[in-house]
């Protein structure tokens, strides 16, 4: 952690960046995002097991960008998010300074996208056994049971859109759900409106979600939205052999056609 | 419970549609229910919520004068979902209307004074109501000057009324279009409204100035008025913020502690200067 603080201090002192996005002490058990703009305050940066948020959500935030060039304390979730943002032309190499950090808090020097890509290749980013278990539980349900299960979960939703807001991949300036000409998705948070919203979001994240789990964690009603996105990751792996968020110039499976693409969806 | 449903609109029949300019239309609306028509009254400056069922509601001022009885008019530009749906309607169709809401132009206080109306583009409608209201009570006021500008000749709204005002001996009418917006046969002024205002140089003595227009026009018009000697208390304008309810509940239109729907839409420059710049 001292390395990160030192590096952050240096970057702010020599004005390479104007803000360091990192973790600081929160009001409760979990750390919170902090935005250090003063080299003297870099000792507020912390890193431990309470630092969970995927900070990449702030990279494209208008108000944060406005502060100037960004350095970001980057866990593997942040790094993978950066790879997606780069692949989607939202970030160029050198747009930000990446302060890589291992899960046990060691600083890793990642000067460019290539270094990030090489580092990510050394990590195991497959979904965890616990996540696999959850998927199994859903898969074991009959169609009717599954429908009922999700209806129950979606019935808790009140459309606060915390799932969308917490997601680094949900950066569209105008979300499909906010479009009213035509009104694709009902605004009201009733059964249909909730279901259409969550299915639309899951589909939009298929092949883009890096499984950081922010959507589920953000949900004040504890809807396990990550199960939808886990499932998508599983499907992407099975159908296209793709692990998303591993390189800065990825081509998205669902927006590309290849001759060898499976056609098993045609029935 | 004796209270009425605040959200229940009147049914209004579109009696007449006037194409004012590209994408700009005026509807003349008549109450479907005669009793409602008789109980209805409004004052100049007030606004309403106009609705197309299935699409939603949209907020605009009442563009006709309260002195014109038996109908109300609204002028709107086709821009969002509701105004697009409104644009597709025809004479004889029914729409919903709630109102009137908001405060008024205090024309009773203006008795005996001269009036200077300055409007730009699609912002003439809120002013048209007060212009006609004052012209219908012409003996109450001294000089009446109207300065109206639009981007181009085609964008001028109320073309017939502009001519009517032009021809009236008791109105000084100045019409202008932005440079490049003139046609070969255009015989009005060419220039931006603030420039033409400065050129026209109306007297500020015992005069009330009413300004409605796009933010950029307003921004450059106030300094000219100040130069001409108008005090902030004698300059009136209207604010437009996004609204849903129209009566101080939905929480959208407030500028600081001031709710445009209840405290406005009419404000003096003195009042405006006390507001935070969140409009």
């Amino acid at each position: 952690m001292d390395d990160i603080r030192k590096k952050a201090k240096e970057l702010l002192e020599n004005k390479t960046v104007q803000v360091v996005i990192g973790y600081g002490k929160g009001s409760g058990e979990e750390a919170r995002a902090i935005f250090v703009r003063d080299a003297a305050k870099t000792d507020q940066l912390i890193f431990d097991e309470t630092c969970l948020q995927n900070l990449a959500v702030y990279i494209l935030k208008h108000e944060v960008k406005h502060l100037g060039k960004i350095a970001i304390v980057a866990t593997s979730s942040v790094l993978r998010s950066i790879m997606i943002l780069a692949s989607e032309q939202q970030l160029k190499d050198g747009d930000l300074v990446v302060l890589g950090i291992t899960s046990d808090g060691k600083y890793i020097d990642l000067p460019n996208f290539k270094a990030i890509e090489d580092y990510l290749a050394t990590l195991n980013v497959s979904i965890t056994d616990k996540e696999k278990e959850l998927l199994k539980m859903i898969d074991a349900m009959t169609m009717e049971e599954r429908w009922a299960w999700w209806q129950n979960e979606f019935s808790k939703c009140f459309k606060c859109y915390a799932c969308r807001s917490a997601c680094p991949m949900c950066y569209c300036p105008k979300c499909t759900t906010d479009s009213n000409q035509p009104q694709w998705i009902p605004v009201a948070s009733h059964q249909l409106g909730n279901m259409e919203w969550h299915l639309m979001r899951a589909m939009h994240l298929a092949g883009r979600c890096i499984n950081c789990g922010e959507c589920a964690k953000a949900c004040p009603m504890d809807i396990p939205l990550n199960l939808l996105t886990y499932k998508m990751i599983d499907e992407m792996n099975a159908n296209f052999g793709v692990t998303v968020g591993m390189k800065p110039d990825a081509v998205f499976a669902l927006s590309t056609f290849k001759n060898e693409d499976k056609e098993n969806f045609i029935r | 419970m004796s209270e009425k449903n605040l959200y229940l609109p009147y049914s209004m029949i579109i009696e007449k549609v006037t194409e004012e300019a590209p994408f700009v239309k005026t509807f003349r609306l008549k109450f479907e229910n005669e009793k409602e028509a008789n109980n209805f009254s409004f004052k100049t400056g007030q606004f309403g919520e106009y609705s197309v069922f299935g699409e939603g509601e949209s907020t605009f001022c009442i563009a006709s004068s309260p002195t014109k009885k038996g109908y109300i008019e609204c002028t709107f530009r086709q821009a969002g979902r509701v105004t697009t749906a409104l644009s597709n309607l025809e004479e004889g169709n029914t729409i919903g209307f709630r109102g009137p809401y908001g405060n008024i132009f205090p024309i009773d206080d203006w008795k005996g004074k001269s009036l200077l109306f300055i409007a730009g583009g699609i912002a003439l409608p809120p002013m048209r109501s007060v212009i006609w209201n004052c012209l219908d009570l012409r003996e109450n006021f001294k000089d009446v000057t109207i300065i109206y500008g639009a981007r181009s000749v085609a964008d001028l709204v109320y073309k017939q009324e502009l001519r009517d005002w032009e021809e009236r001996p008791d109105v000084k009418m100045v019409t202008t279009v932005d440079p490049g917006g003139e046609t070969p046969d255009w015989n009005g002024e060419v220039g931006f409204v603030p420039t033409i205002l400065e050129k026209t140089a109306p007297s500020s003595k015992d005069t009330i100035a009413i300004v409605c227009g796009p933010p950029i026009m307003i921004k450059y018009t106030f300094p000219v008025l100040e130069k001409l000697g108008f005090s902030d208390d004698n300059i009136y304008t209207t604010l437009e913020n996004r609204m849903k309810c129209g009566f101080g509940k939905c929480g959208r239109c407030n500028v600081g502690k001031v709710f445009v729907c209840k405290d406005g839409p009419v404000f003096t420059l003195t009042q405006l200067k006390q507001l935070p710049a969140e409009y």
Binding site: - | E3, F53, N254
Partner: protein
């Protein structure tokens, strides 16, 4: 009305519930489902959860639901017609297990929904609602009712307040006429008031700031770097507003099915970037710091000044619900300190 005090034996609580239920009232009470405690329609006393600090969502939805029909309509090409909502058939509701802060929350909603224009739909729902509150014997760091004129055993806003005393029985405070009517449904259950002091059975919620420092000085900090500082990590969702007992901002949307449809009032939030956006694309509250300021100022400046009520009851729900730890009491303490600078 002077508050009347009684005793309700522990064993009689269920009987009171049964009486009210048998009277045909819809009983809404805290229920634990999938780990979260929230108000839900309950059939049996056994479903009610009594071990909770606060429900995740507030009790406001009983009078201000997330979706409310405000107008029905019929429309076709040549005719359209609005149809009024029949508010007379709204159900008689008992809100059971409300916390004293939540009960006060209805004051803020009342102030908004009756500000000159009286919202008959909200009022009709509220009129049919009786509030049976239970004093707080537990609290957490997010609670700050005592900083906003509240109290874990406060009677304001409730029809009846029950406080559990040391032997497990309840001290009953009958606060309103509605409360009296409820007691009258089962007078046999109530006995002479206990002598035990109420206060010693309440949780202690320390005062974190003086609310007047904020409400009376708000003009001083409208323009202040604090708003940017505080809101940088805000991600602009509506979680805070939707769990809040006093947030009343709403949207209006039409939903049609064929030639019939309904106009709906839906919860909305000032923290959403599109909330104030004009059709032209101009947005008076363009950045999150302005939207965050609006949220705080609305509750602590505009509402006190215009409606004579503080728009926050100190339940701390927003802090608990926030995905990014926008802790409201911490921010309010900062504001109160700012004033003293």
């Amino acid at each position: 009305m002077e508050i009347e005090k009684k005793l309700l034996k522990k064993a009689s609580l269920e009987k009171l519930f049964e009486k009210l239920k048998a009277d045909g009232k819809k009983m809404y009470a805290p229920v634990k489902k999938d780990k979260l405690v929230n108000f839900a329609l309950v059939d049996t006393f056994g479903e009610i959860c009594d071990d909770y600090i606060l429900t995740v969502k507030s009790a406001k939805s009983v009078a201000f639901p997330k979706i409310e029909k405000i107008v029905d309509y019929e429309h076709s090409k040549n005719s359209s017609k609005a149809i009024d909502i029949d508010v007379s058939n709204f159900p008689e509701v008992v809100l059971w297990g409300v916390r004293p802060c939540d009960a006060v929350g209805f004051d803020s909603l009342d102030a908004i929904f009756t500000w000159d224009y009286k919202d008959n739909i909200y009022l009709a729902r509220l009129e049919k609602t009786s509030i049976i509150s239970f004093s707080c014997f537990k609290s957490d760091n997010n609670c700050f009712c005592t900083s906003v004129n509240g109290n874990p055993g406060g009677t304001k806003g409730s029809d009846i307040l029950l406080t559990k005393i040391s032997n497990g029985d309840y001290l009953v405070e009958i606060i309103t006429e509605k409360g009296k009517q409820i007691i009258a449904k089962a007078p046999e259950l109530f006995e002479a008031a206990p002598t035990e002091e109420k206060d010693k059975n309440l949780t202690n919620v320390p005062i974190k700031f003086n609310v007047k420092d904020i409400t009376e000085n708000s003009a001083k900090f409208f323009e202040n770097d604090l708003w940017v500082e505080q809101s940088l990590r805000c991600i602009g969702c509506g979680a805070c507003a939707f769990v809040c007992p006093t947030c009343a901002c709403f949207d209006i949307q039409d939903e049609s099915a064929g030639k019939n449809g309904t106009r709906l009032r839906l919860w909305d939030s000032c923290c959403f970037s599109l909330f104030t956006m004009h059709t032209s694309g101009h947005n008076p509250r363009e950045v999150q710091s302005q939207r965050w300021r609006q949220r705080i100022m609305h509750k602590f400046s505009y509402m006190p000044e215009r409606l004579n009520v503080v728009g926050c009851i100190g339940c701390g729900r927003c802090s608990r619900a926030c995905p990014v730890d926008m802790n409201i009491s911490e921010h309010l303490i900062n504001l109160a300190e700012e004033v003293k600078k």
